[in-house]
Amino acid sequence: MTEFALDTSTGILIIVLFGLFWIGFGYWLGRKNKSHEDFALAGRNVGFAFAAATAMATWVTSNTTLVAPQLTFQFGVWGMIGYSFAALGLILFAPMAKRIKELLPNGYTSGDFIRLRYGQFAWVVFMIISVVYAFGWLISLGMAGGILLESLTGLDYHIGMTTILVICVGYTLFGGMRAVIATDFIQALIIIAGVSFIAYWLIDNIGLSSIHENLTAEHPKLLDVLFPAAVMFLFNNIFFGLGEIFHSNVWWSRALSFKKGVAYKAYLTGGLMWLPIPIVTGFIALAAPQLGIFPPSMDMIGPTVAAAVLGKAGAVIVFIVIFSALASSLDSLLAATSDLVTQDIYHKKLKPKASDKNLMRFNRSCIFALGVITWLFCLPKIATLGALLNFAGAFVASTIWPILLGLYHKKLTGTYAAIAMAAGTACGMIGYFAIGFYVAALVSCAVSGLICAVGIMTSQYNFDWKQLQEEDAHANE
């Protein structure tokens, strides 16, 4: 884009106002945090409305608002349908969340579960996967922030990226999980209302028939329901989504922070609310050819179309929606990853006798450090958002079977779980480089599943579920 939809000063004004609001809100919510459990898990007492909203809003990331339109532009209708199937991750996690809450009443993280269920070796492999994924996602979000501001307002990429990181680190630092979840609720409302409004405006002004007609005549491949690479993408995306949600502490820490009896219905509701969003955002990209819009960076196709059709008002809406989507995921990831480092590495391995106050201080330092590391990685624009995201697919899809079987099956041992995750990741990466990004998660999940199947068939082991009920180290404080 040579002409920007918003002038730089308007962009800066919006971001400063939002930044002040979120940080102030985070600070206000953080006053209620009296213990590390309050800070990390919102006192394990989150109600249904906030729980459903946070599940939905966290899953609406920059990828849903920027990459779903990009993939729709690449793969046509299968791009958006395939993307919407990632809702299966949330929906299928619903019964697992209930099970997690039952099995680990005092648990803090997904790492806790892997350590107690599979032992040290599997824990190390799992932590490597988790950290690679967390940084992949954090960097893609930070980069998306910079790209967004630059594309819509002309503000330098580095300034935009830094501003978004500072805001999210700021309110997560002050408010912990409580701030993350409460801001997610407001952000969820903004995202859905904004995206729906843009799609409605497009339908009203251009018309669905007109878009379909133009695609049939000029770009029939985008309407092809038998587009092989796109069908492959659909299945790959399902497994990628399952891997992301099943393993990531973002979702485990939420399950553990919800009130008793809330986890199942919250994830189910969140998943169902998320399902149509990629179709709505993806559809926006299908209007691009008709409007003669071909942006230099494909991940800006959605915002560019919206800004072109709705003018300045549209650009403001897009800006706020994507900023909210970025913030709702960035804060969750910062909080969940710092919990993982604090609880699994610092508390369990380095300082088992650390006081509650000490853990809270370390957790806050960790959030700050994660923000700085993400900022350093974001300085060079290393890959397009889609490429960066799909690379992580090879890692996370390898955890699907070990997590699932670990929660429901007594026979899988730690050694097989570790080998399944390591070999699945390695084969997924080979698939990524040898065939394409759209098979990485598929290959990884298939290899990991095969190793787990062998592990179960040859196993004499019977895990005792009671071993998961670890005592809370601070119960006596």
């Binding site: 249904f48 209708v77 339908i203």
Partner: protein, 40 residues
Amino acid sequence: MLMSESVFEWMIITALILSCLAPVVLLVLWVKDLISKTIW
């Protein structure tokens, strides 16, 4: 094989209606939690 116009329209309209319903559902749940004092 191309997706027909009616299927295309049906898919987009359904997705739009469902996404419009989501904020309503969230607000109703929030009010319910607020009344029963179970937000946190």
